[in-house]
């Protein structure tokens, strides 16, 4: 070890410089990846006989072109934010959860039951019991997977995948059986929450409280992970569980609480879907928000604040599906192709971190 000989004077602790290189890297790489994905998608559009520039212009117009369009985007974005957190929070523990869909469904279902149980009371009571029930149910749902992982070593990814299917089955069972509203014929649904007890849109727009919940949850999650002692323990466990154990961190308790928080976000998304949009529990709850949420979490590189931005972008993209069909005669699955391409290129870019010397902090002293 040569550093003892070559020791330079290190007298007073100086304030280290801002880590601009790695910050730049974490901005340039995703931006570059999205640009590459857009070029690839452009070629795809060309092959399909559409003008890529016109397609992009349409997407922009449909997603962000007008206040009305942007409202739709935001409405789509809010469950994405909450679902994304269901993956983005536990991955800090080193757990890859894909149970967003199941937690959303169970959350929505339990919120409906709770809402129906107190439907004769005031709207505030109805809504808060729905939110509480949704969060509790979604939280316990993912917490169950966390407990299986911690106490039995069951792989959390596969457990939550199975739980998704089980959740959907429970939903179908209940809305076709015990909870079924006899008036809902072609789309089996539960009894509806009374119209006047639902969450109402904000400021005369289409936007509902879900967006507020989503943004607040993302900011709170970011603070929790990065600024609190709880988050410190979560990150320690995710980095190395042995280090966490040697420091006496209660790994089981922290893991279960983290899973509960994650699941309750998705559960809240389910509650919002019921209380603000559907009005009852039905199969529309199972609308692939789960996997889109997973996508958002990874596109945002598991950063809770990034989830806000990417949910809005993805929400815009989903909203623009219809216009591609009308204006360019492209199937609505075009948007899924675009999402897939972006996801693939972003994942590829993960392998490029630390690849270029320019972005390394310590090699420029």
């Amino acid at each position: 070890m040569s550093e003892t000989q070559t020791e330079t004077s290190l007298t007073s602790p100086e304030r280290p410089a801002f880590q601009w290189r790695s910050t730049l890297e974490s901005l340039v790489l995703p931006a570059g990846a999205i640009a590459v994905a857009m070029v690839l998608f452009g070629f795809f559009c060309l092959l399909a006989g559409a003008n890529p520039l016109a397609v992009y212009a349409s997407i922009k117009k449909a997603a962000f072109g007008s206040w009305y369009a942007f409202q739709n985007t935001l409405v789509r974005a809010s469950p994405l934010m909450l679902c994304a957190l269901c993956t983005a929070i536990p991955i800090r523990l080193g757990m890859v959860i894909i149970g967003n869909e199941g937690a959303l469904v169970i959350g929505g279902l339990c919120a409906t039951v709770a809402g129906l149980a107190v439907q004769q009371h005031s709207p505030l009571l109805v809504q808060s019991s729905m939110a509480l029930a949704g969060m509790l149910a979604g939280g316990l749902w993912i917490c169950f997977a966390g407990a299986l992982k911690h106490y039995r070593g069951v792989n959390e990814t596969i457990a939550t995948l199975l739980l998704n299917h089980i959740a959907v089955a429970i939903l179908n069972h209940l809305v076709n059986g015990p909870l079924k509203n006899p008036e809902s014929l072609n789309k089996p649904s539960s009894y509806p929450i009374p119209e006047d007890k639902m969450l109402h849109p904000l400021f005369g727009s289409n936007i509902h409280w879900g967006l507020v919940f989503g943004i607040v949850a993302c900011i709170a999650a970011w603070i929790l992970i990065h600024k609190t002692t709880f988050g410190f323990q979560v990150r320690t466990i995710g980095g190395n569980i042995r280090a966490a154990l040697i420091a006496g961190i209660p790994v089981g308790r922290i893991s279960l609480i983290t899973c509960f928080i994650a699941g309750s976000c998705a559960g809240l998304a389910g509650m919002v879907e019921v209380a603000a949009i559907q009005g009852s529990a039905n199969e529309s709850l199972n609308a692939n928000y789960g996997y889109s949420g997973f996508l958002v979490a990874f596109l945002a590189r598991q950063n809770a604040l990034g989830c806000i931005l990417l949910s809005i972008l993805l929400g815009g993209l989903i909203t623009s599906g219809g216009i591609l069909q009308r204006a360019h005669h492209l199937p609505d699955a075009t948007i899924a192709v675009f999402q897939g391409l972006v996801f693939i290129v972003i994942l590829f870019s993960e392998s490029l971190y630390g690849r270029w010397k320019f972005f390394r902090e310590d090699s420029h002293e």
Partner: protein, 507 residues
Amino acid sequence: MLTTHLHSPPSLELVNVTKRFGSFVANENISMEVSPGTFHALLGENGAGKSTLVKCIMGYHKCEEGDIIVEGASRDIRSPQDACKLGIGMVYQHFTVVPSMTVAENLILGRPDIPALIDWKAENKRLEAFMETAPFQVPLHALISDLAAGQKQKVEILKQLYLNSRLLILDEPTSVLTPGEADEVLGMLHKMVKAEKLSVLIITHKFREVTDYCDEITVLRKGKFAGAGKVADLTTSEMARMMMGEERTGKTVAKSEAAPGAPLLELQELRANRDNGVEGVCGVDLTVRSGEIVGIAGISGNGQRELVEILSGQRPLTSGTVKVNGQPYGMTRAEIEKNQIYILPEEPLRNACSSLMSVAENLVLRTFDKAPLSQRGFLNPRAIRNVATSLISRFRVRPPNPANAIGNLSGGNVQRAVLARELGSGTAKVLIAANPCFGLDFAAVDFIHSQLLEARNRGVAVLLICEDLDELLSLADRIVVMTSGRLVYNAPVTQANIKEIGEKMAE
């Protein structure tokens, strides 16, 4: 390729072999010879360059200068397959057999000429014929994962013999074996060497194995040739002197008279399993008093690692209790804080650092939840950075950047960072250290030694687990020996009998 005819072992000679990694010289001008039908030991301390040298022979590394001469001709060995063609095979410290396969499948898999379709009937017949000539027997159709460590090591050796390797290179082959298993394996190989069917080049740390089985030795020190000779002409202390060099004789540590106080750390009938479910700690009783260093000696793999993991909260006990200050100790954060227990585990990056977090965050792992580093559950990044920066400069962690990810640091600097975290506060009451000096340079070793002694003089109860017996003898006040998961010897260092310790370790 698989002829049943036994060739005689090839001769091997190295002439002025030099291997560099960047500016670091791992091997410098090393020459040695393994003549056919000899049992040759390659000795040296950790980091002396033994593994690098044999990896050059096996074709994993390309040496920059010098010649590797096999059967009288200089050879360009580019891969282990090349080495295999020359009749040279290597058995690694860690198993390379595939656990989910049977012994027979593993033997076939080792061959360079596996047929595309395997006719198991014919292969089994051939394997059974081979087993009849083999020095030891292993059930051919047993799964590797069901075999004991000794059996697995035998499969590794059989694999090489099945490949017709006539010069076996063994890299610390007995470190995972019980002494009985080691004797059986080495004894069988020794017989084959005596019958001139085999040559062996063995890397080992155990003098007992050298004196019992080896004919010749070559010693490396810090990448350079440090001596060679016939085992019959040398005493173990002469060999040790070649390994350590002369300058190390001054390494006696000034130690005040021991004044052990109250028992602080009590281990009562501890039992725990290894990763594979076999009991690894089998009823350990030990008391460490305030102001004394208790040293646990023993060959690695005899339960020391599991014992440290128990005390680190990383391994559940199957029975027994740990008491600190007379109270049962459950390795919770509150208890650690109350009793001021600190741990220097081996492999600090694997055992004690959260690799995704920064150096600063790792440095405050013990204290992040206390004021001023956090208030009401919220971290104070400025305070954390200040604490980290001062620890970094006191313990000379390089590069001195607290925001760096700890995984980017070199091994020695990770070790310093952990040292800074565990010893930096100076408030320890119980200190557990496992091979704390492994892989460090002399200056760092002296620093750690002085820290341990200072802690002891301050009244800390120190439990030191160490494979280096010399280090233990110079630091500890009391020596215990751990063998096969049990403590088999316990004596004050002043009355310690080196011969007896050695015998107990080898039991």
